[in-house]
């Protein structure tokens, strides 16, 4: 059975069904992260001190515990990956498949770079005995950044599929394949936007 309106826009909505689907999914994601950010604000405003005492030390700012340079590097990495995935889509629009593969490959490499930096950060916390159970600050830090990292992993899986076996569609239905890359890009940009808010909220304030 063929799913209708994956290439041409549906007349009554003016957009393809796949685009309606991804935006509905992103709406649910906004609710998820909105709830988490609300929980962060609730915990922070309710705490007598922030980040507070942990592992025998008193901390007065998040930047004393977390690495701002590493988080700033990760911000640059994600912004760059947003740029490369939109360039991957633009390459398909220009019918340049080899350039698409290059940009999608760079996007996936940058995604792994993000996770590598995040892994360094987590390892550094664990080495110093800073686990989620240590304090409210660390609890919300690991939950927010951990759920975001899971989204990055999800993006890597989807983008890798479109770089590998999924790219065969370019030969049979290039317009639908181009639409698929646009949809994958919408998800990836959302992951970028979440980090744009996480970075100052958790690391800098």
């Amino acid at each position: 059975m063929e799913i209708p309106y994956t290439v041409q826009p549906r007349p009554d909505t003016g957009v393809t069904n796949s685009k309606v689907g991804i935006w509905l999914f992103l709406a649910s994601e906004i609710m998820l992260f909105g709830g988490l950010f609300s929980a962060y604000v609730f915990l922070r405003l309710g705490a007598p001190e922030w980040p507070g005492s942990m592992a025998g030390h008193d901390y007065t700012s998040a930047s004393e515990i977390l690495s701002v340079p590493l988080a700033a590097l990760n911000t640059v990495i994600l912004i760059a990956s947003s740029m490369t995935i939109v360039m991957a889509w633009a390459s398909l629009m220009l019918k340049n498949f080899s350039r698409y593969k290059m940009y999608m490959g760079i996007t996936i490499a940058l995604s792994f770079g993000f996770l590598l930096v995040k892994g360094f950060e987590y390892a550094s916390k664990f080495e110093h005995g800073l686990f989620p159970s240590e304090s409210t600050f660390l609890g919300i830090y690991f939950v927010l950044t951990g759920i975001h990292a899971v989204h990055v992993i999800g993006g890597i899986v989807v983008n890798s599929y479109f770089l590998g076996p999924g790219s065969k569609m370019w030969k049979t239905n290039p317009q639908q394949f181009t639409n698929r890359i646009e949809i994958a890009g919408l998800y990836w940009h959302f992951v970028d936007i979440v980090w744009i808010f996480l970075f100052p909220t958790i690391y800098l304030l």
Partner: protein, 125 residues
């Protein structure tokens, strides 16, 4: 037929189908978009530097929060508007987003309400 000929044929066929299905944007339009993407990318990098620089001013929490969130909203807006193609998107997508924002704000108000209640703040007292 050799394998290379088969690949060439497939690629030619795909380009024909692409043209038949009628891409919404012309090549020149896409190149114009690419120039915009590069400009947005540069702006986002500059704003990231500004975000970090402002944090070193050690402002009190309220102004620091306002500045950080203003920059974050501006950066997020640039990504949504240009990279996610919200500029020129169909009304249905905006209807989804407006409804979502209403629910998020309502949820946020509930959290703040609960916090104030926890701290003993009551209306009219």
């Amino acid at each position: 037929m050799s394998e290379s000929h088969a690949v060439e044929d497939a690629l030619q066929h795909s380009e024909e189908r692409f043209a038949e299905q009628g891409a919404e944007h012309s090549a020149e339009e896409v190149r114009k978009h690419v120039r915009t993407y590069l400009f947005i990318f540069g702006t986002l990098l500059v704003l990231t530097v500004v975000t970090v620089a402002v944090s070193y001013l050690h402002l009190p929490i309220v102004p620091a929060l306002i500045v950080a969130l203003l920059i974050a909203f501006f950066k997020g807006g640039l990504v949504a508007r240009h990279f996610m193609h919200l500029v020129g998107e169909k009304p249905l997508i905006f209807q989804f987003l407006i409804l979502t924002v209403v629910f998020v704000v309502f949820m946020f108000i509930l959290f703040i309400w609960a916090l104030l209640d926890q701290q003993g703040v009551r209306y009219g007292t």
